[in-house]
């Protein structure tokens, strides 16, 4: 058999993607495709894991047993999301240990949204509604991504996100029917989380250097700005429905485009938080490192036990 040249392989690879077929772990793929996916999927998995921290902050102080059970279940789902995506990423040839140490050392990035603090119970509402709402839009698009294991993980995740989204909205809706103070609390949470949620879609298209390539490879199916617009269009009527105001004076329905116009994002803040200067960057990494260090003896003990069992099984 004559081996195809790199160019020939790359051509076949692109044709396969153009036909709408999936790329599976053992298929040939350009090194750059592999690298980009490892980066994207790794960041995504880390975001799920770090994302448990701001919400974990309120589990012990949830206002009722029902809300506590719901929040626990949601946070557990996020752990699951992290695990689905980590194992998907491992199929590309990076080990779990490697990804883990990249997160713990601060080398790997995760979504900037999780570097904002959760100051009140209403933040649990704002996060579920806005942050998970934005995540659903991103992830629904990724469920059609060309890399099979990533797409499959997204399908699984999307099924669970609707619960996250709705429970958050319900928290805010309940607060908005409460006292003056409760309504203020809800509005304050949305004021703080609106813009960071808008930033979750990444830099605007004109400043998104990887986008063209990722679109050609069908890793990305829609541009950052398209997805952001979709989020705004979907979210504004939900806000109006419960009397929440979106903190953007430029927000306005545009009869011509049939979309909402909105104000400019503070990109300086976005790049600051990404580069580690957000309010909670340090705290989040510290919490992850602490959990990892404190869990070390459990991991070692479980492995030692498994080895002992295996050697006894062998002897018997």
């Amino acid at each position: 058999m004559i081996k195809d040249s790199e160019k020939e392989l790359e051509k076949k690879f692109q044709e396969k993607i153009d036909r709408g077929e999936s790329i599976e772990p053992k298929d040939w793929m350009p090194e750059r495709y592999r690298k980009q996916l490892i980066r994207m999927m790794g960041q995504h998995a880390h975001s799920e894991i770090v994302g448990m921290l701001p919400e974990g902050n309120w589990i012990t102080r949830a206002p009722s047993l029902k809300r506590k059970a719901v929040l626990l279940a949601k946070v557990q789902d996020e752990a699951g999301h992290g695990l689905y995506i980590y194992s998907g990423t491992e199929t590309l040839g990076i080990s779990r240990d490697e990804m883990n140490s990249e997160l713990l050392s601060g080398k790997a990035k995760y979504s900037s949204i999780f570097n904002y603090p959760t100051l009140s119970w209403a933040d649990m509402g704002a996060i579920g509604w806005l942050v998970d709402g934005a995540a659903i839009i991103n992830q629904t698009a990724l469920a059609k991504c060309s890399y099979g294991p990533y797409a499959r993980a997204m399908v699984r995740i999307c099924k669970e996100e609707n619960f996250h989204h709705k429970q958050g909205y319900e928290i805010l809706a309940t607060l908005m029917k409460g006292t003056e103070e409760q309504r203020e609390m809800a509005q304050d949470a949305v004021n703080r989380f609106w813009w960071p949620s808008m930033m979750m879609f990444g830099p605007s298209d004109k400043n998104s250097p990887n986008s063209e390539e990722l679109m050609r490879w069908k890793v990305k199916r829609f541009s950052n700005d398209e997805l952001r617009q979709r989020f705004v269009d979907r979210t504004v009527p939900q806000a109006e429905n419960i009397g929440i105001k979106i903190p953007d004076p430029a927000l306005k329905w545009n009869e011509e485009t049939r979309h909402y116009d909105f104000g400019e994002i503070n990109w300086e803040e976005f790049y600051n938080v990404i580069s580690g200067k957000g309010i909670c960057n340090k705290e989040r990494l510290q919490a992850r490192n602490e959990a990892h260090d404190k869990g070390a003896w459990v991991r070692e003990a479980a492995l030692a036990y498994a080895k002992k069992q295996a050697s006894q099984e062998f002897a018997a």
């Binding site: 599976e24 053992k26 298929d27 040939w28 279940a73 557990q76 789902d77 699951g80 695990l83 689905y84 194992s87 998907g88 491992e90 080990s95 779990r96 240990d97 883990n100 140490s101 499959r152 993980a153 699984r156 669970e160 991991r299 070692e300 479980a302 492995l303 036990y305 498994a306 069992q309 295996a310």
Partner: protein
């Protein structure tokens, strides 16, 4: 580090009578914990009524490179399909 727990593949069956489907993978030190983790990771909402776990290193897979020659033998046996046969006038559906 480098004391990573082994990797396992998880297969779940939605309902008895249905085939098992690959759900994903996970790390676990032994088979008991692999099964428990599989339940927590891949069946938090009754997605499974039965779970298989198998260490990834024990899975044997065909490879994309030999996909042509490996599956070739079935290509020229069109007589294995019912539409190969002419059955004038008779009702078979």
């Amino acid at each position: 580090m480098n004391n990573e727990w082994p990797l396992w593949e998880v297969f779940t069956q939605k309902k008895s009578g249905l085939p098992f489907e690959h759900a994903g993978s996970l790390h676990a030190p032994d088979k008991e914990m692999a099964l428990q983790n599989a339940r927590d990771v891949y069946s938090r909402r009754n997605e499974a009524t039965c779970i298989w776990v198998v260490e990834t290193k024990n899975i044997v897979s065909s490879t994309p490179e030999d996909v042509g020659s490996f599956f070739e033998p079935s290509n020229d046996k069109i007589y294995r399909h019912p539409n190969f046969y002419k059955t004038p006038g008779a009702a078979f559906e």
